[in-house]
Amino acid sequence: MTSASSRAISRTAAVAELDPSSRKLGRGQRALAIAGLIVLLLVLWEAAKWLGGDPWRLQGSILGVAFSYDHTPPFTWAVTTDLALPHVWDIANAFVQPAQRGGQPLAATLVGAALFTFQEALVGFVIGALLGLGLGILFVHAPRLERAFVPYVVASQMIPIVAIAPLVVIFLRVGWLSVAIIAAYLTFFPVTMAALRGLRAADPRALELMRSYAASRRSILWNLRLPTSVPFLFAAFRISASASVVGAIIGELPSGIPDGLGGAILNFKQYYVSGPEKLWATILVSAMLGIVFVGLVTLAETALTRGRYRAPQA
């Protein structure tokens, strides 16, 4: 190894000696730790129900061995009843059962709904990202416009668009596209601010270098500013991705768009008493949608930037 990298390595080793709590786990160990945490949460969930929920009457067979288990919890808490906090296995079971009599399994319905919502969120995300980047580029090259409009860009985020989402959807009356517009609205602010920061983050010396080549503004933008802004943009994209999903779900709520997750939530909320697990399953799928979307963005970022960018300094 080169002397520079060996120095970095010995420095890291020295720091690890110095600050034990800054130790990092290996990838396998981390996966194990996370899995352990999730298992712990599930155990706590059921433990709470064991202590204070509705009576347990389990019957069934595992691997051909029949078993039954009856248990009456010592306490009675409102939050841990089967209605409020269904058993983990009931929720899991709900995925494979049909949502309605004779229909397809809930999992299929939910995945379909998720894809529908994802489509809205994705379209909105792309529109918002392009708009945000465009505004960023515009403002960097026209400071007067920036001074006049950036306060509004900032103020626009003060408007709880998520709160207005239902109204906007009714107003625009274009079905799922209105929801996409909400997602776009939620996306463009973080992206604009990130673009402003990122496009300006170029090393001044690099800018001087470009000027010494008498490079045009477009050339500077393409060759210097945009590449520099990529890490900033992706940080904003991750936030926007999750915001788009939230916006899409909320936007679907009152407008009665039944095909998405918002509609599913409303539906199962209405029929909560007859099947609380279905609502929980829907919420779980909504959560997964958010995670998956952000995960996709992170993958895109890794693919685009692997090896090309210096790791961020602590």
Partner: protein, 275 residues
Amino acid sequence: MTGVPTRGGRGSPVAARAVRRLRDAAPVVGVFVGVVLAWEVGLSLLGIQQFLLPRPSAIAAALVDQWPTLVDGVTYTATEAIGGLAIGSVIAISVAFATARWTVARESLLPVAIAANSTPIIAFAPITNNWFGSDNQLSRMAIVAVMVFFPIMINTVRGLTLVSPSSLELMRSYAATDWQILRRVRVPNAMPYLFTAFKVATTLSVIGAVVGEYFGGPRSALGVYISGEATLFRFANAWAAIALACLLGIGFYVVGVLAERLVLPWYAAMTKADA
């Protein structure tokens, strides 16, 4: 970044600063006034249906007319936002301290928290409404608490752990105890991170409270009022309430900014110098 800031100049520096601020604000104010005027005039000129998007004057009239109800709604919802913000922040900061301390906790909790932060937490509103009752402010407070928990916890952990190795070496050379390092280095280092997340949390709290109420709540809640008036096609009232919700969110954010200036006076000056 050389030398000490010098004083002096001609005339009164305070007045000069105020004039400069006004001049900077002029284009912003101009755009605002322009938009409002265009909105007011444009709608009647173009004959656009005032059905869904009433004129500013109509909204203002509704504000005046519905004032008592609106004030009740704002108070009710603001209480939920503040309560959730307080509960969420306290739990988040406590968990952050525990997480920063133990490697296993950090490597497991932090990724899970980051993932959970990308989920639409508001989707749990029907569940909390079911738990605590939709007439109970606690339902929305719970949602708000969860919504603000993740960003505050994640950022505080970052602030507590992203301390330069040189600082830690320095502390070790003083034979400082872990507690002294926490108190004198990690906590002050974490404060800017904490406040950044807190400012985000202030706006989230209002949004969470209002949207949570869309899933159910008493009539005195702002969110219920908004969706109720919209269903009855009384959009001027709905927009008036929305305007107040916006102001509430902005107000909370401003409080966050002021709190930051109060607790971290050095930070504002320092970041301005860097900019």
